[in-house]
């Protein structure tokens, strides 16, 4: 069986939650595997991350190099190509860094590549049976991956549940193997998001709109409902892409993480990137005219309806009820 490596994403001296998920995924591929964590970076932050991983990985390969301080996938790829033995399976979290790193890494390792893996169903010799989602999560697909020359697998964050007792692993310093690293792409800086007019992270009730709102003028329908409820209007990515609402209103992995009590998903299909931004187990109401919308799988209550009709009716009914009780 191929050796399994887990690429550890970290920040500020702390390993990303995906570190524990990758161990679980490695054990699904091969219950007998002793997956190796690979951590790149430099200085005391790197040391702290390596140390913290010893309880979940039997071996932690530390790759320290001044050039690896910033998150530059081109440099990190060069380091990994030098350090990872041919034929290995490399697991990487499918987030912005993994998307940057893994396709090119698979080419340089002459390994197969599968992105955004949500399940691992079995191994037959050098053939892995994996699960992916396509068409925005409307259908799933089984994919066979030939690992005979190795594989790079990008795993969806949250898809693999951490498990297993704490162990006492060792840190192995592999820094000397990287040699000189040079890149044609240079990291400059990280620009933080601008604060918006409304802080959606502070609201207990969110009326969140997606592509189903269809045009900018219809945002008013959601605004009216939100006003009636004392809620704020948030949205999914297509609404921001279309410039109908500012980026600060976007819920999701590339937007805001929200923790409301009630989340009304109106005309939002429910991509995993969007769902990743909803925390704290809110009561979720999904309203969508497509009965196949993935949001119905995770919502508490679903309504199959066109939001352009349904939301105004709901707003009016709430106003009527209130009017009657005054």
């Amino acid at each position: 069986m191929a050796r399994i490596f887990a690429y550890i994403v970290h920040k500020g001296g702390v390993a990303d939650d995906s570190a524990a998920e990758l161990v679980a995924a490695a054990r699904t591929i091969d219950p007998a595997a002793t997956p190796v964590a690979i951590v790149t970076g430099c200085g005391t932050e790197l040391d702290a991350v390596c140390e913290s991983l010893r309880t979940s990985y039997a071996e932690v390969w530390k790759v320290a190099n001044q050039a690896l301080t910033d998150p530059n996938a081109e440099l990190i790829r060069q380091a990994l190509v030098k350090v990872v033995p041919g034929g290995s399976i490399v697991l990487v979290p499918h987030a912005h860094f993994g998307i940057d790193l893994s396709p090119g890494l698979s080419i340089k390792l002459n390994a197969a590549f599968v992105s955004d893996v949500v399940g691992i169903e079995g191994v037959e010799g050098t053939s892995l049976k994996l699960v992916r989602q396509e068409f925005g999560g409307q259908v799933s697909a089984h994919v066979r991956c030939d690992t005979s020359t190795g594989a790079v697998l990008n795993l969806r964050p949250g898809a693999f549940k951490p498990q297993g007792a704490a162990i006492n692993g060792v840190v192995v310093d592999k820094s000397a193997e990287t040699g000189t690293l040079t890149a044609k792409r240079r990291y400059l800086e990280t620009v933080t998001a601008e604060a918006g007019d409304v802080d959606i992270t502070k609201h207990a009730v969110l009326v969140s709109v997606g592509r189903g709102i269809q045009e900018k003028d219809n945002i008013a329908i959601a605004e009216e409902l939100a006003e009636t409820l004392g809620a704020a209007v948030s949205c999914s990515r297509p609404v921001v892409d279309a410039k109908w609402l500012p980026k600060s209103r976007q819920v999701g992995s590339s937007g805001q993480t929200v923790k409301p009590k009630v989340y009304m998903a109106c005309g939002i299909s429910g991509s995993f990137q969007h769902l990743a931004g909803i925390k704290g187990n809110p009561f979720i109401v999904a309203i969508n005219k497509n009965p196949k919308a993935p949001f119905f799988q995770v919502a508490d209550v679903g309504i199959v309806a066109d939001i352009l009709e349904f939301l105004p009716e709901l707003t009016n009914k709430i106003r009527e009820t209130r009017g009657a009780s005054v």
Binding site: E74, H142, R186, T190, V301
Partner: protein, 263 residues
């Protein structure tokens, strides 16, 4: 600046409910509405804006069949100078690396300063751009949501990372960038524009034109193969409210009150 944009024709998920066919080996493709992959359209718009500001030409290319010509024409109606179809029976069943291998051969036939792809396709995996860059030994950046031309030899690009933050990088040309949606506002394409390019000839290249070994691409070269499609549930599934519209609204209001969604 000579810019190549790699595009794809895909079923449009905003226009279709995607369902399995009766045997489960594919999605039901009858009556599907196809369109250009959305992020690819943003990539073409970005290319057109860069060419307008800095001079140069925009070429759109796709790997596919005659049916895929429609997306090339659509992007030409937007303003791309030419469209190219890469088509061969030997390309059928290619995995991401196979597609990247075909595109690499085409890139090397020309002289492009900048190659753009969309960040991902509806059924794909955000992979071809990064693979193409690695095959060409060009630098690469993914999830690009801003591009500034610094001079003839490098760009400043922003990458969308978590929490609405943006990672700024300097990247040498030639390079490959995969474009995130929202980077610009793609221009509208009317029927008139499409008609104007309806009869423009689209050059087509096959494996031998591109010097591609047929064992390296298609089914033969694929190490990743889709076996079947199925429907799986992410969670326990919502209670779908039934009844008349009025009953549904009353029930929802009750639930919202109970859950703290209204006072």
């Amino acid at each position: 600046m000579e810019i190549l944009v790699c595009v794809r024709r895909v079923p449009d998920t905003s226009e279709n409910e995607i369902q399995l066919n009766s045997t489960g080996n594919d999605i039901e493709r009858d009556d599907l509405v196809y369109s250009v992959n959305e992020p690819d359209n943003y990539a073409v718009e970005e290319a057109l804006q860069i060419a307008a500001k800095n001079g140069g030409n925009v070429t759109v290319v796709t790997v596919g069949t005659d049916e895929d010509e429609e997306v090339l024409r659509r992007e030409m109606a937007m303003g791309a100078n030419q469209g190219v179809l890469l088509s061969d029976d030997a390309f059928n069943g290619s995995d991401g690396k196979g597609i990247a291998t075909i595109l690499k051969a085409f890139v090397q036939k020309g002289k492009y300063d900048l190659v753009l792809t969309g960040i991902q396709a509806e059924d794909g995996g955000a992979q071809v751009g990064g693979m193409l860059a690695a095959l060409l030994d060009y630098p690469f950046a993914s999830l690009v949501n801003s591009i500034t031309v610094l001079d003839g030899s490098k760009l400043k690009v922003g990458r969308e990372i978590e929490g609405g933050n943006r990672e700024m990088n300097e990247i040498d040309l030639p390079c490959v960038l995969s474009i995130q949606t929202g980077i610009n506002e793609p221009r509208y394409v009317g029927m008139r524009g499409i008609r104007q390019v309806a009869s423009v000839e689209i050059p087509t290249y096959g494996a031998s034109d591109l010097g591609i070994a047929t064992t390296a691409v298609g089914e033969a070269g694929a190490r990743v193969k889709r076996v079947d499609y199925f429907v799986s549930a992410l969670g326990k599934g919502a209670e779908i409210l039934q009844g008349s519209r009025e009953e549904i609204i009353n029930k929802l209001i009750e639930l919202m009150k109970a859950k703290g969604g209204m006072n």
